[in-house]
Amino acid sequence: MKVEVQFFARCREIVGAKQKVLEVEEGMRIKDIIDTLINEYPELKNVKLIVSLNHKYAEQEEKLKDKDEVAVFPPVSGG
């Protein structure tokens, strides 16, 4: 199954894309795709990540379904 991941702010800079479609297996959790992304983009590890699932704030333990939309963003502190 596929999920779409959107990136914002520093996360977007690190990944170099505003969104990606990731292939995930049945039973995978948000945490699993975050781990995959950190593996591919180690700099993400230094960012405090907030995640949402289908436009709702989510815990990383939540399970994914086909066509889910995940967003990944850091708090932005600038004023």
């Binding site: 914002f8 520093r10 230094n46 704030y57 708090p75 932005v76 004023g79």
Partner: protein, 256 residues
């Protein structure tokens, strides 16, 4: 969740003069003289006289908020001028609060502008906001944002959050004890950084913060509560994420 706080009422001592009726004619068409009286009676603390503060302070001043307190301890630098639009070339080296006081008072002499050139710290934050009706979070760091969030919860003051990065912004409105607080949404602070930014992003975010404050005071519309709005300027899109109170939140979890 959308109505103004009961204690900002348009009682008899809030008087809208003939010149004020003229000045605010276009907005009185929206919310009436009653709404204008509420604005006149309100006291707002704006924490931060930078990019976000420039925009929210300007719009709240021209809207006729009765009393505005601006708090900041910085001095204007050349590198501020791409976004901090209340500071001009002539202000370099001046206290940001002095620059704000001058500009805001000239924009609208009907508004009582006071400034405080102090760093907001744990020891003074409660005194700073003590007679305000609400707080605008226009800071540039999470350490101070968390201090303000906590005092807003303790004193039951609505808290209007905005943050910027590059072409992006994040905004939410917090009603203590009722909606997700800043710590519910962002449990951990990002590392301090020199953030990239264009001035217009502050315009979008500060403008939304000011809109929220006016709505709250006047008591119209639906507030940006339990939602994090993310402005993606590069894509010209606004994304919205539903957030909710975290019962285990270290800042508001004990508010019931």
């Amino acid at each position: 969740m959308s109505r103004g706080k009961e204690n900002i009422s348009a009682d008899a001592d809030a008087y809208v003069s003939e010149s004020e009726l003229k000045r605010y004619k276009r907005q009185i068409k929206i919310f009436g003289e009653e709404g204008q009286k509420r604005l006149k009676k309100a006291k707002v603390t704006i924490a931060g006289a930078g990019g976000l503060g420039s925009v929210s302070a300007a719009y709240l001043t021209v809207a006729g908020v009765g009393r505005i307190l601006v708090v900041d301890n910085d001095v204007v630098e050349l590198s501020n001028l791409n976004r901090q639009i209340l500071h001009w070339e002539k202000d370099i080296g001046r206290r940001k609060t002095d620059s704000f006081e001058e500009k805001l008072s000239e924009m609208n002499p009907e508004v009582e502008v006071t400034v405080l050139c102090e760093k907001i710290v744990e020891d003074n934050v409660a005194d700073i906001v003590c007679d305000s009706d609400l707080i605008v979070d226009a800071m540039d760091n999470f350490k101070t944002r968390y201090l303000l969030n906590r005092v807003a919860l303790e004193k039951n003051l609505p808290f209007f959050h905005g943050g910027v990065y590059g072409f992006e912004g994040q905004m939410t409105t917090i009603i203590p004890g009722k909606t997700a607080c800043l710590r519910c949404i962002f449990p951990e602070a990002p590392a301090p950084e020199t953030f990239p930014i264009i001035g217009a992003t502050c315009g979008v975010v500060g403008g939304i913060q000011a809109t929220e404050v006016v709505k709250y005071i006047v008591g119209v519309g639906e507030l940006l509560t339990n939602r994090l709005l993310v402005w993606d300027g590069l894509d010209a899109r606004i994304e919205e994420f539903a957030v909710e109170r975290n019962p285990a939140c270290e800042d508001c979890g004990d508010l019931g």
